[in-house]
């Protein structure tokens, strides 16, 4: 169980950043994971007073504050319309409404857990993160970075001519996923993001070949993803099963987005 020596509601991003430079200080997200860690925190830095709890939509895209909850994502009509309900689908299995009222986008993205539905979804949305010091960084790049002491301020989702779908397989409905698959179909082709491998989500960009039928495209994409993806075993499923599921979900994504 975590202990905290001091709690500070930051009054500015600069203050939060300054505090966060100390090794045993921590920025609070939704507290879901943090509270379970066996960890002695010096100062817990709370960003909840900084107005980072809104989703702003423009013609160019969405700007999502780090303290926006997963429940806000789930209910946001603009995100639902833009992604065809994929964002809602990506979060609605996460435990329950009460937890999703706490868990934050910033916490989910910063943590970069392999099982993260949110990370999987936002990678497929071609999102970027806005860091207080580091500026705007593509999420794919950020996800690969080691943890640092910058402050994640916002997640930015550009609007593109694309359609999306999100799928996950779970041993039970509110469990962690055995495998997640977010897909985007754009003018250039397909992006597939496979998460819960159980490692961090992997991105695959594949192009349809004009000559083949959608069904053949689906089969080919599934085979390519299965050949490239690295999966491992844990309590929820074996590497082999995950590889199999990757093929199934990619195929289904293509069928749905081609329909």
């Amino acid at each position: 169980m975590m202990t905290i020596r001091e709690y500070k509601r930051a009054e500015s991003l600069e203050e939060a950043w300054q505090l966060n430079q100390k090794k045993n200080n921590r920025v609070l997200g939704g507290m879901i994971w943090l509270k379970m860690e066996k960890l002695n925190v010096g100062t817990a830095i709370d960003l909840s007073g900084l107005g980072l709890d809104t989703v702003e939509e423009t013609d160019e895209g969405f700007s999502i504050g780090a303290m926006v909850t997963l429940r806000q994502l789930e209910l946001h009509e603009g995100l639902a319309a833009y992604t065809g309900g994929a964002v809602r689908e990506s979060v609605r299995h996460i435990v329950g409404v009460q937890l999703r009222n706490l868990a934050t986008v910033g916490g989910s993205i910063y943590s970069r857990f392999g099982f993260s539905d949110v990370l999987t979804m936002f990678l497929a949305l071609n999102a970027s993160v806005e860091l207080y010091k580091g500026g705007i960084v593509p999420l794919a790049e950020y996800a690969a970075r080691p943890y640092d002491r910058d402050i994640l301020v916002r997640v930015l989702v550009p609007k593109e001519a694309a359609s999306f779908c999100y799928q996950s397989v779970r041993n039970s409905q509110t469990d962690f996923p055995v495998l997640t698959c977010a897909a985007a179909k754009t003018a250039e082709g397909y992006r597939f993001v496979i998460g819960a491998r159980p490692g961090k989500a992997m991105l695959f960009a594949l192009k349809p070949n004009g000559a083949e039928t959608p069904e053949l495209t689906a089969d080919r994409f599934a085979a390519e993803v299965r050949a490239q993806i690295k999966t491992e075993s844990n309590l929820r499923g074996s590497a082999e099963y995950r590889n199999h599921l990757a093929g199934v979900l990619v195929k289904r994504a293509v069928r749905r987005l081609e329909a």
Binding site: M1, M2, T3, I4, R5, E6, Y7, R9, L28, G30, M31, I32, K35, M36, V41, A44, D46, S48, R71, R92, V95, G96, V97, Q98, L99, N101, L102, Q173, T174
Partner: protein, 156 residues
Amino acid sequence: MQITITLNGKKVSADVAPDALLIDFVRSHGCYSVKRGCETSNCGLCTVFLDEKPVLSCSVLAARADGHRVTTLEGLQEEAAEFGGFIADQGAEQCGFCNPGFIMNALALFRENPYPSEEEIKEYLAGNLCRCSGYEGQLRGIQAFLAWKKSKEAAE
């Protein structure tokens, strides 16, 4: 550290540890309806309203609730009895331990969505575990309550 929370409509000031959790704060202020069923944010027993939103009080720092309104079943006794009577009419309260959290979240559901469908009920309450009922009796109770509410509103 000193915090002030409006707990069930009354301002409560207290000196709390920076890592004190809201569940322990409300229990230490007499709100015994709030139960702890796990340590991993999975069971829903500790549900309270933070401002208007249902949250897991086991996963909120008391410090974070400073300056906010917190509502537990102790503050919603009439509503709890009114809706809870329909659960009792099914016998579905059973051991009772999950009831406060379940009823809190059901009341939150009715505020967001006064006439939810069966699927909406199940999805909204998915994070409220119950080991006694198999959920069927709870669902019957909710549906009976909604039917009663509808007929009452129609009569008004």
